[in-house]
């Protein structure tokens, strides 16, 4: 993988980066990673830096934000079509020194947030990429005041989603959740880098769907739908780790993901019905989880397998 073809920009084209020997496209999470960091970024991610609030409502809000942070469909326009989420630039809330997007990045780890490539609102006609800030770092270094009483962070995030990325207006719970998540990041709370494996991804899916269930229970179908979309994107990340030779293991996952898509759509108009369907879906989880767990050692979650898969690139 030498040239970062901008044809990928559309999101229709991730596979241009694939290796000659293996026609499996790169995992979505690695599409915008500089080549020399691919293995590292596909193997582990920075440690979580979330402080643990004592208030249950705040805990729930942070959980919503954490899931939305990884949902490509939160963002609109070209970003969503490229599979980008907040987490693409801010891995686990940090920065991303290996991020490189044609037409948007200068040096790795930078992005031009005023490029027309992503935004129909904020293009300034100049290529001026800036370093991606570390949201889990010293808050004094961040340009937006995060104090809750002023609400500047919420306004900033709203502008970022709807203006910088041309996304649809998020639900109030999602917007509040994202702000809660960002506020809860603290350099003092950072854990060690975490290995990326099937279990860690499944934990994220569980958390997103738990939050979706609670949102649906309160009648907030829009929030529930976005959280389900976040879970579906995580299912895709799992699917991408199982190459064609393991397609039998991944087939139940794909069927489950398709069913979850129908539930996501139902949530918008019928949260109660969606809630019931989600409960059924969750009870059937072992059917798709077990085959994946059984063949995980042969999948691209295994660093040795991953190394071999990356070698022709």
């Amino acid at each position: 993988m030498i040239r970062r073809g901008v044809l990928l920009v559309l999101g229709a084209t991730c596979a241009a980066l694939a290796g000659a020997a293996d026609r499996t496209p790169l995992p979505m999470s690695a599409r915008w990673t500089v080549p020399n960091q691919l293995k590292a970024d596909l193997t582990s991610e920075p440690g979580d830096c979330l402080t643990a609030p004592t208030d249950p409502a705040q805990t729930r809000s942070i959980a919503i934000g954490a899931a939305a942070f990884r949902a490509p469909l939160l963002l609109g326009g070209q970003a969503a079509r490229s599979g980008l989420s907040c987490n693409s630039c801010h891995r686990a809330g940090h920065d991303n020194p290996a991020f490189s997007y044609p037409g948007l990045s200068g040096a790795p780890g930078t992005a031009d947030v005023t490029a027309s490539l992503f935004s129909s609102h904020r293009g300034d006609g100049q290529f001026n990429p800036k370093p991606i800030p570390n949201l889990a770092g010293d808050k004094a270094l961040l340009k937006i005041d995060q104090s809750q009483d002023r609400g500047e962070l919420e306004l900033f995030i709203l502008g970022l989603i709807t203006q910088e990325f041309d996304g649809p207006t998020p639900s109030p719970a999602v917007l509040t959740g994202l702000a809660s998540y960002v506020r809860a990041l603290s350099p003092q709370a950072c854990r060690a880098p975490a290995r990326i494996d099937l279990a860690s991804t499944l934990v994220r899916i569980d958390a997103a769907l738990d939050s979706a269930r609670r949102s649906a229970q309160s009648g907030d179908g829009a929030t529930a739908a976005l959280l389900i979309s976040s879970a579906r994107s995580q299912l895709q990340l799992i699917d991408e780790r199982y190459p064609a030779s393991l397609s039998r293991s991944a087939a139940p996952l794909r069927q489950a993901a398709a069913r979850l898509g129908a539930i996501e759509r139902q949530m918008i108009s019928d949260p109660a019905g969606g809630l019931a369907a989600l409960g059924q879906w969750r009870r059937a989880e072992p059917k798709w989880k077990r085959p994946l767990q059984a063949s995980e050692a042969k999948s691209l979650y295994n660093p040795a397998v991953l190394s071999g898969w990356l070698s022709p690139r």
């Binding site: 901008v6 999101g11 229709a12 079509r81 935004s119 895709q236 759509r265």
Partner: protein, 311 residues
């Protein structure tokens, strides 16, 4: 203008540094929703964009028959691609087959009348094949273009050189000389990428006319790539050219039946034309493809729910 210069104008001026993609870039169904599988069984098992690049590489090395073979494959799925028709003609001319080149040049000029190298070469070829009436018609076309240009447009020099070349060819008749192309004057993939970035940015700025120019520049590097065809459809649709847009969308879907963007934008255009049922069919198609969710189906769903006035 010599043939080599025309090709340079067509394809850009930098030395070729083909970075050959290793996989049809839409193989994942556009956006990764298809899980990496190839499109339907009826889709030819080769990649037109790859073949296009193979053809350019062969032209560069003067492997005319290889170039013909590659462009022939592209034309089986994208017969109306003007650039490919012109390049096929170039390969034919490379081995002295002016008669064989004529039909491809006619198609190139028909499918993209703005493709000056095709119009000029066609005039020269007509003259060489002993058809001064048609050669004169090409010259007349160029003169009209020159008048419209008024001596100020970006194509001024190319038009003037074309006029001179066709005039000379008419004078020489069957002795007209067709310049061999310079094999080092092809657009690079990097130039195509830059044009593409510019096009997407221009579309976001709603500068659709300029976006079309940039997309066509990218197309000269990448050939009938479904992403480019889709955006050509999009930009033309925004300019109210629905029939043209539909043609581009269909061309994209012929090459990549599961192209998410082409399906989405086709659905949006159906809504704009009052075809709600058709738009819903497109949405259902996206929902089937997007196993893990995709922005294209979300956006089309919003259009269907809120109407086509979303800009």
């Amino acid at each position: 203008m010599s043939h080599s210069l025309r090709i340079a104008a067509l394809l850009g001026s930098a030395a070729l540094t083909l970075a050959v993609p290793t996989l049809p870039v839409w193989a994942a169904g556009g956006g990764g929703g298809g899980g990496g599988s190839m499109p339907s069984e009826s889709t030819p098992q080769y990649d037109p964009a790859m073949e296009y690049r193979n053809g350019i590489a062969a032209l560069r090395e003067e492997r005319w028959k290889d170039a013909e073979r590659a462009f022939g494959r592209v034309l089986t799925v994208a017969p109306k691609d003007a650039n490919t028709n012109l390049l096929m003609a170039t390969a034919k001319l490379g081995r002295g087959d002016a008669k064989g080149a004529r039909g491809y040049l006619e198609k190139a000029a028909k499918y993209d009348p703005d493709l000056l190298p095709a119009q000029i070469t066609l005039g020269v070829v007509y003259a060489k094949l002993g058809d001064p009436v048609k050669a004169q018609a090409q010259l007349d076309w160029l003169q009209k273009r020159s008048t419209a240009c008024g001596g100020t447009c970006a194509e001024k020099t190319a038009i003037e050189q074309g006029l001179s070349e066709v005039t000379a060819a008419i004078g020489a008749g069957k002795q007209a000389r067709i310049e061999r192309l310079d094999p080092h004057t092809f657009a690079s993939a990097a130039q195509g990428d830059q044009a593409y970035i510019a096009a997407v940015s221009l579309i976001n700025e709603r500068r659709y006319g300029e976006a079309i120019v940039a997309l066509k520049a990218a197309q000269r590097a990448f050939g009938p790539h479904p992403d480019l065809l889709t955006y050509l459809g999009f930009a033309n649709r925004k300019l109210g050219r629905y029939d043209l847009a539909e043609g581009y969308y269909k061309a994209a879907l012929t090459i990549a039946p599961q192209h998410l963007g082409a399906i989405e934008y086709s659905g949006e255009m159906m809504l704009e034309r009052g075809d709600l049922a058709g738009a819903k069919q497109m949405l259902a198609r996206l929902d089937r493809i997007c196993t893990f969710g995709c922005a294209q189906s979300d956006e089309l769903r919003r259009w269907i729910e809120r109407g086509p006035d979303r800009g």
